[in-house]
């Protein structure tokens, strides 16, 4: 119970298509993420599920039932709003009990379920408080309890952690994931924070300019992005501009800085096509140029020459900014840096496995 299906759904807001021809299957009991930069249509998508918007084209189905024209108060969804939207004129208990009151649940049952919901979010001691007497994190939990108590088919979370400070945000990730496991309900979670999505999601849908770009598990999206946008947005990457020279078991790309060979790539790319080679910063190994023979050590390895531009020490890692032969800048990360590997101005050989390179069609990245 609790599957949500989008069938070619579009929503026009003002002049633009906020959601454009979206087809998406969200499985029952999944913790599903909608991820994308601001203005990509992810919140609009969530509000379409809640019923605050009706689709201009297409249908939305819950468990196979068309919900497109059902008004929001007749859909059984529980939403957690970005600013929590706790009613300031009601105490915590009344806020949480509100949805049950609307459902004419008996007093005894209501009492029991409110207590249980507050227990789940560890707020049972605060039932008598007014919302303005709670901290941000506490308000967040009450909002969550209020959405959960009605046992909704789908729980909707609209950037629920964005108003919390960094430390609490990380704590709440674990808690929400725990709650999801405990209650076993479909959750649709909107965020622009890729770290949040990677760390919590069963599956993620990446959106851009109203369109669905790619759907997959966190691991799939990180290791096998299907577009430069996804590669860049999830985790950050280096994109080397080049031309596809050979297609086969290995893809060979000619860049201004040298030849790059790759194990992975998007299908249906032709020879001569302009492409990006995506290489994650942590895949780059730094070797002194003097130790390099000028030829890659093995068939499974690429090697490019670079000069160190700047080094940023961050404690658990060290970030290098390097200039390639063609002037392009790439980033590399050394984890657990005990001794400094290079100085600014040093010439280095960058080695990286063909397995770590993904060849992607060129596209415009600025949003």
């Amino acid at each position: 119970m609790g599957s949500v299906k989008f069938e070619s759904v579009s929503k026009i807001l003002g002049q633009s298509r906020a959601v454009n021809n979206l087809t998406l299957d969200i499985g029952a009991e999944e913790l599903f993420f909608l991820l994308g930069p601001s203005g990509c249509g992810k919140t609009t998508t969530l509000r379409l599920v809640a019923g605050f918007y009706t689709p201009d084209e297409g249908r939305i189905l819950f468990d196979g039932q068309d919900q497109s024209r059902v008004p929001p108060h007749k859909r059984n969804t529980g939403m957690v709003f970005q600013n929590y939207a706790l009613w300031p004129h009601m105490d915590v208990r009344s806020n949480v009990a509100y949805g049950l009151k609307m459902r004419h649940v008996s007093e005894a049952e209501k009492e029991k379920r409110v207590r249980h919901a507050l227990e789940i979010v560890h707020m049972q001691a605060y039932a008598e408080r007014m919302p303005n007497q709670l901290s941000g994190g506490q308000q967040q939990r009450v909002a969550l309890a209020r959405a959960l108590v009605i046992e909704p088919d789908v729980v909707l979370l609209d950037e629920p952690l964005s108003n919390l400070d960094a430390k609490l945000r990380v704590e709440m990730r674990t808690q929400i994931k725990d709650i999801h496991r405990k209650i076993g309900r479909t959750m649709i979670y909107v965020t622009h924070d890729q770290a949040e999505a990677l760390s919590m999601a069963d599956r993620i849908a990446v959106m851009r300019r109203g369109r669905l770009v790619q759907t997959g598990t966190p691991h799939e999206l990180y290791t096998r992005p299907e577009s430069a946008f996804v590669a860049e947005f999830i985790g950050g990457t280096n994109l080397l501009r080049g031309t596809l020279e050979e297609v086969g078991d290995l893809l060979t790309v000619k860049t201004q800085a040298g030849i790059v060979r790759a194990k992975n790539g998007v299908k249906r790319m032709a020879r001569g096509e302009p492409v990006f080679c995506s290489v994650r910063p942590e895949s780059l190994r730094l070797k002194p140029a003097a130790e390099s023979s000028g030829i890659p050590p093995s068939d499974a390895t690429n090697e490019l020459l670079a000069e160190v531009q700047s080094i940023m020490y961050l404690g658990d890692n060290e970030q290098y900014s390097l200039r390639l032969a063609d002037g392009a800048i790439v980033r590399a990360v050394e984890y657990n840096p005990t001794t400094r590997k290079a100085q600014v101005g040093d010439r280095l050989a960058l080695q990286f496995d063909t397995q770590a390179v993904v060849v992607l069609p060129q596209e415009e990245l600025s949003d």
């Binding site: 108060h73 059984n76 939403m79 009613w87 509100y98 609307m102 459902r103 209020r146």
Partner: protein, 565 residues
């Protein structure tokens, strides 16, 4: 067609409400104004500019126009002089009790000058308190004729003392919006305090100043109460008032009303041009640092001195009313020689006084109910729904701010004569509607502010949990904007109780007189008339003070926003 409709939140209920609002505005605002225009430009022979020409050429009429313009300009000048130092002191300095002084400044605005005029007349008479006091102190040897020369200066002083808070609110807002870094840049370039103010600060404040000046000018230009009490009859407002009685013989009344409307529109257009021109749009707005600094001890004393001094001045007329109302004998002495509460008893036994209080309570209650219903509905549509013609609806709801009561009332009398609403047969319906329309903008603003402060997410959260839109309105939205509604309603009610120009023009028969018209009628009676009138005025002031106190409690510090342009 359908895609055009889809851009709006239109369901049958919304559409019906919208149509009702349109009809209301057309019948009770646009039609009367249109009627006045038509009669000013069309005679039995067709289109004619004869009345317009007469107004601007006949010496009888040009002097009246000139008097009114002079009155407006003089009042604007005086309010500027009074409020500029107030704004500079209170915006730029922090000192203990600043909030209290801020509140004190606003009081005169809500005290009707019509009532104050009664007291002022008593104090400024040839052998009134002021002259006697000055004679006693040996400052002068002959009584000064304060109210001579057609009482022009009496009216100016009274209105300036009434209207300076409006100017102050606009100046203070303008000053607070001036980006301190722009001033710092000027100081950095070597500007001294005076240069800084004249070349940077004041020019940047100009749009706000102009907005305030327009309101003050129009208000003074169209005020009926004060000139009537001071018997300064050669002004446009009093002329229009007199012409209501013989509308059908003398169409000059229409011409004057058109002149007032044209002038009002022109000034508001001008102020919008200056405000909306973007010429003074600050770069990088939104992170304006506070430019207030703590006042030194001497600065604090100065601030208190200036505010208390000006407030005392502004309260003098009302003190006069209070004294008059408890006077048994007041002849050739600074203060009354014998006191009595007789006149307060008379208020409740005197036929006209008692009747008028009952009338006013009824009229004001009805108009307040209309205001609450219309105001909340309009504010809700504006704040929460996408409806066609949203901008026009907003403009119509705010139009009464720019529409002098005089013009509205005149339009009503003219447009609805010989209809079931004829004011000369029974003025009650039109009085109620006139009161309601006049105060509608305050109610809309109060409710709109409430909707704005109440995040839509709070309503969506309720709907999401299964509450129907109606339930959401009653259980979530209404409780959250309740304070605003109470404040708006209390203001609407108390202002309706002391509404002057529409009451004087519309209430034609004694049995329908509201308080203000009864006061005016009593003033004209010899013997105890003025004393009973003063007692009624004092009661009116108490009512107003009480209701403002209540409104203030609900609305808090933001109450001033209701009175800004």
């Amino acid at each position: 067609m359908t895609s055009w409709l889809r851009r709006y939140d239109l369901n049958p209920a919304n559409a019906a409400v919208l149509i009702f609002l349109w009809v209301f505005f057309i019948v009770f605002m646009l039609y009367p104004l249109g009627y006045v225009f038509t009669n000013a430009f069309f005679t039995a022979e067709g289109f004619s500019l004869v009345f317009m020409k007469l107004m601007f050429t006949s010496p009888n009429y040009t002097i009246i126009l000139a008097n009114s313009v002079n009155l407006g300009l003089a009042v604007t000048l005086f309010t500027t002089l009074l409020s500029l130092p107030l704004a500079l002191l209170l915006v730029r300095y922090n000192f203990p009790g600043k909030e209290f002084l801020n509140g004190l400044i606003l009081i005169p605005m809500v005290l009707p000058p019509f009532v104050g005029a009664i007291g002022m007349r008593q104090l400024l008479a040839r052998f009134g308190s002021i002259n006697l006091l000055l004679l006693e102190m040996g400052v002068i040897s002959q009584p000064i004729d304060w109210l001579g020369g057609g009482s022009f200066w009496g009216v100016v002083i009274l209105e300036a003392l009434h209207l300076y808070p409006i100017m102050y609110l606009n100046l203070a807002a303008a000053l607070a919006n001036v980006d301190p870094s722009l001033e710092e840049a000027a100081k950095n370039m070597g500007a001294n305090s005076f240069k800084l103010f004249s070349t940077v600060t004041f020019p940047l404040m100009l749009p706000g100043y102009f907005a305030g000046a327009v309101i003050v000018f129009i208000w003074a230009f169209t005020d009926l109460g004060a000139p009537l009490v001071f018997e300064y009859r050669e002004v446009v407002a009093v002329q229009i008032f007199n012409m209501v009685t013989d509308l059908h013989q003398n169409p000059m009344g229409y011409a004057f009303v058109v002149a007032v409307i044209a002038l009002t529109l022109f000034f508001f257009y001008l102020s919008k041009r200056i405000l909306g021109g973007g010429r003074y749009e600050m770069l990088g707005r939104g992170h304006v640092a506070s430019a207030t600094r703590s006042a030194s001890a001497s600065m604090t004393v100065i601030a208190y001195g200036v505010v208390l001094g000006i407030s005392a001045l502004a309260l003098i007329p009302h003190l006069g009313v209070l004294l008059t109302s408890v006077t048994k004998r007041w002849f050739l002495s600074v203060l009354p020689s014998d006191y009595t509460f007789q006149f307060y008893q008379d208020v409740f036994s005197h036929d006209l006084a008692l009747l008028s209080i009952k009338n006013s309570l009824l009229l004001s209650s009805l108009s307040t109910i209309i205001d609450v219903v219309l105001g909340v509905t309009i504010a809700y549509l504006l704040a929460r729904k996408r409806v066609p013609g949203r901008g026009v609806l907003d403009a119509l709801a705010m139009l009464p701010l720019a529409l002098p009561g005089l013009v509205l009332a005149f339009g009503y009398v003219a447009a609805f004569s010989a209809t079931p609403l004829d004011a000369r047969v029974n003025p009650v319906p039109l009085l109620v509607i006139a009161y309601a329309v006049r105060r509608l903008p305050y109610m809309v603003r109060a409710a709109y502010a409430g909707f704005q402060q109440t995040s839509v997410a709070l309503e969506e959260a309720a709907i999401n949990l299964g509450a129907s839109p109606m339930k959401t309105l009653y259980q979530i939205t209404m409780p959250l904007i309740f304070a605003n509604l109470i404040a708006g309603a209390v203001l609407s009610f108390s202002f309706a109780m002391l509404e002057v120009s529409d009451s004087l023009i519309l209430a034609s028969k004694e049995q329908y007189y509201p308080i203000t018209k009864a006061i005016y009628a009593l003033l004209g009676r010899i013997a105890d008339g003025p004393y009973i009138a003063s007692a009624m005025g004092t009661l009116g002031l108490l009512l107003l003070a009480g209701s403002l106190f209540i409104a203030g409690r609900f609305f808090g510090r933001r109450m001033g926003e209701l009175f800004r342009a």
